[in-house]
Amino acid sequence: MNIQYLKTDFLVVGGGTAGTMAGIKAKQASPESDVLILEKANIRRSGAIAMGMDGVNTAVIPGNSTPEQYVREITIANDGIVNQKAVYETGRLGFSVIQELESWGVKFQKDHEGNYDLKQVHRVGKYVLPMPEGKDLKKILARQVKRHKVNVTNRVMATRVMVQNGRVTGAVGLDVRNGNMVVIQAKAVVLCTGACGRLGLPASGYLYGTYENPTNAGDGYSMAYHAGAELTNIECFQINPLIKDYNGPACAYVASPFGAYTANAEGHRFINCDYWSGQMMLEVYKELHSGKGPVHLKMYHLDDDTISEIETILWDNERPSRGRFHEGRGENYRTHGVEMNISEIGLCSGHSASGVWVNERAETTVPGLYAAGDMASVPHNYMIGAFVYGRIAGENAMDYLRDLEHVEPDADFLAAEQARIYAPLNQPDGVPHTQVEYKLRRLVNDYLQPPKSPNNMDIGLQKFVAYEETLGLMGARDPHELMRCMEVHFIRDCAEMAARASLFRKETRWGLYHYRLDYPEKNNEEWFCHVNLKKGDAGHMELFKRPVEPYIVDVDLVEEVYDVAVR
């Protein structure tokens, strides 16, 4: 195993939705600069949208909605704990992102008069724009990356961000094919590594049967933490209502505009809005425990043509293996509801609000370190938000780094990281990463799955802290297994953060996402704030309250309670 040294002006870690856009926008802003995307898979098919996407969920299109209306909607859905300025940018810049994607060949659904065919899935506004031909989205982005002369290094997984003298100076990674350690000097870095989708263990017991692309193991959450950046709202978990066992979307966002809806076993509605929120998840939880479960996505009342259209959209994009899953069980949308279940927990700001703290300029709290996409703390940001924040990060970073010089890496830091990465290779007969990961994620289910109980979470926390030692037992036989071992390190960090943040916030908020049995009510007097955490000077995790930034759009949170129950 050798060490490979690279140098770039701007390093993009992760080549998914946010990362490809960050690279492209950085080159558009500064064509003479060197920009490198580091990707652990291959950017043609990587990230959350590896197989494309069937629609965008946060499209603010002039004439249909306004950024102010969108900010109000997300503020209410996220129980008031938002940096409105950051949410506003998604509304303000989303349309120009859509126009640019169209100029690259991405197709969005339009009606007979050529207007965008927006659908209402949120409680009030119409922000869902179908992309029935969205299966080649990732290939189109990869083509634009090449056209903009952004450099790409595939199959290298970043493991640590380098910070020297209070600013970011690059990153260290592992080549997952040849096992080389890769050291990249950079003047600015954006982390776009997606969700922590491998935190809880799916009920199927299959480690990779997750909602998120399982490559997204919380890499960026962990790397940002070790770089000294603040993370926020970690206790606001991602929990989704998914197809039981398959663990993918059913998907009401696509089907409900056609007349489908979520129903209990009696076929009755119990929620009046299918938009994913903690409040909605709490209603699903209650229904499942009411004796009226299981719950299902009901389509069998629709006519045959409508169902065929839904099938075409669902089985060609995002998760195309859904069709063969149903077929294998002899089930059909015409005769069967799609049985749904509550997923295991994850961290993902794209769907909820847990992420690395960023402001409206995509800046983390470490100079030169940016974050975008599912791992950056702009609530309910989805794919459009990832594009917008990739763009903001790319443009701002090029401005920031203009007069900066590269810094020689710290030899002690590199030696320590080298020892950490390769430790499992020195003991090929150590415990396989699969077992170490399985047990860790099973403990996450046992102690962190809501509703949350303080004593359980305390036990969980102790186990996650002690697990640091367990990680030292792992053995690996090749670079691929080494990659998985390093991912288990990321997952452990996220589990500890999830336990500590959940114990810190002594109230219930965001419906099921942070439902504490010992504090079952919302307490705005003490907890109308973010819970942030960071690595303190002594190397321990520190938690603290961060005030909510003053609102720029008025919202009456007393009047506007987010309630989707059908009573």
Partner: protein
Amino acid sequence: MALTTQRVDVPVIVDESKCLEKCNACIEVCPLDVLVKNPETGKAYMKYDECWFCLPCEKECPTGAITVQIPFLLR
């Protein structure tokens, strides 16, 4: 540590009669990097039990040699 090898039913099935020895299409697009070539036969196979049943390997195979099943535990 004492170790044993467990047999696992894997989701990615490769029809070796169609798989091209000099083609790497499926290996290059797999997000989880679970596919490799058998060095003796030059045919692709699923080496690591880490499949997300996402289908790029199947869609990008030029000869239709690959079939992805839903993993047994989820089927």
